[in-house]
């Protein structure tokens, strides 16, 4: 009976780091499509939402998390999206590669770790344990290199550097180069948010 009750409580417990909800590409404000591949962006700017899904906020650390949704709507073609080839441009600057999730996570963790005060060592250790969990969640939610087979979908976050702490930011242009498998042709998807 006790075991069953414990299991029931465990089942009812909400996840610590919930998954960010995924919608159809057409439902996002920022979206584009060409050659049968649709891409959408959803910048997660709200600090409250960032806390919900990441248990941290990014703006003061100089990042904007951007949720990317990919959908291959073609019936026969496959597309390759390499994460390391995705670039961004803040305002009129040249395109740069977004920061790797683990690096964004390190920035977040370091900002937390710097707040440690020597007398409270045990609290400090808790902060490190907590910050590695936060980092791990960022790492796991990051967009990854993927081959999109016909009908396939993929999603994940990119962490784009932005002005630290500023309430407003310049528009950012994200370029997602996509390779058509077989033809080696590269299509560039430009999205501004």
């Amino acid at each position: 009976m006790v075991l069953a009750l414990s299991l029931a409580v465990l089942i009812a417990k909400p996840p610590v780091y919930p998954d960010y909800p995924v919608r159809a590409v057409s439902e996002y404000q920022v979206n584009t499509a060409q050659a049968g591949l649709a891409i959408a962006l959803d910048p997660l700017e709200d600090a409250k939402e960032q806390k919900t899904y990441f248990k941290t906020e990014f703006r003061s650390k100089g990042f904007v998390p951007v949720f990317v949704v990919l959908h291959n709507q073609s019936a026969s073609e496959s597309f390759l999206v390499r994460k390391e080839e995705i670039t961004y441009a803040a305002a009129r600057l040249g395109l740069t590669t977004p920061v790797q999730g683990s690096k964004a996570g390190q920035g977040v963790a370091l900002a937390g770790a710097l707040a440690i005060s020597t007398p409270a060592l045990i609290i400090g250790l808790k902060m490190i344990a907590k910050s590695t969990e936060v980092q791990q969640n960022i790492f796991k939610k990051e967009l990854r290199t993927v081959t999109l087979s016909p009908g396939a979908k993929a999603h994940g976050f990119l962490f784009i550097p932005a002005d630290k702490g500023s309430s407003t930011r310049e528009k950012i242009r994200l370029r997602v180069p996509v390779t058509r498998i077989g033809s080696e042709e590269t299509l560039n998807f430009d999205l501004i948010f």
Binding site: A4, L5, I11, L80, S102, G105, A113, S131, T145, T179
Partner: protein, 190 residues
């Protein structure tokens, strides 16, 4: 039926279903009728990835040593034949119709406050599968993860080796599943 009993029944059914699913997913039902070259370079098999900071403590994860034999074994059940190479063969010179090239992308590891608490390790491997002409037909990052006790100052090393082993097993299993299910590879058999 009362709630706790209902929960218990639900858990038993879910556990049984999960066990059946794991059993049926552990090996692909039919091998792909393709000859494959698997590239496991000495550098890849000796890969050690470091995590942590001076503040939290640096750790080294010997992912290459743990992963290489497991990848070879797991992928052997996917293809009609698998030949291991220690460098990328020139296109046309190798026997296989496809060449599989793995690359470690990163690891992610949590830390815990207590020795008995469970920590998590995630290993990411990026696979590039090339056809006989050397063109990439499938590129994908595959994840493997595991949980294990953190251990105390005396046992941390042993537990670290164990968690790397478990995560390597998982990433090998997931790699085999993903590669076996890739329509881009099935297309090559037609």
């Amino acid at each position: 039926m009362r709630l706790p009993q209902f929960a218990l029944v639900c858990c038993s059914v879910a556990a049984l279903a999960a066990a059946q699913q794991t059993a049926s997913e552990s090996k692909p039902a039919v091998k792909l009728p393709l000859k494959a070259n698997l590239v496991l370079t000495p550098e890849f098999c000796a890969t050690k990835l470091k995590k942590g900071s001076a503040l939290s403590g640096k750790e080294t994860f010997a992912v290459g040593e743990a992963s290489c034999p497991k990848l070879e074994e797991a992928l052997g059940s996917v293809f009609s034949s698998l030949t291991k190479f220690d460098k990328v063969p020139d296109s046309g010179s190798a026997p296989g119709q496809v060449t599989l090239i793995p690359k470690f992308i990163d690891v992610g590891a949590t830390k815990t406050l207590w020795a008995k608490s469970k920590r998590e390790l995630v290993i990411l491997i990026e696979w590039t599968v090339q056809d006989a002409t050397g063109k990439p037909v499938w590129v994908q990052t595959v994840e493997g993860s595991a949980h294990n006790k953190a251990g105390n100052v005396f046992s941390a090393g042993k537990h670290r080796r164990e968690i790397v082993d478990y995560a390597a097993e998982d990433v090998a299993h997931n790699s085999a599943q993903k590669i076996a299910a890739a329509p881009e590879l099935s297309k090559l058999t037609q």
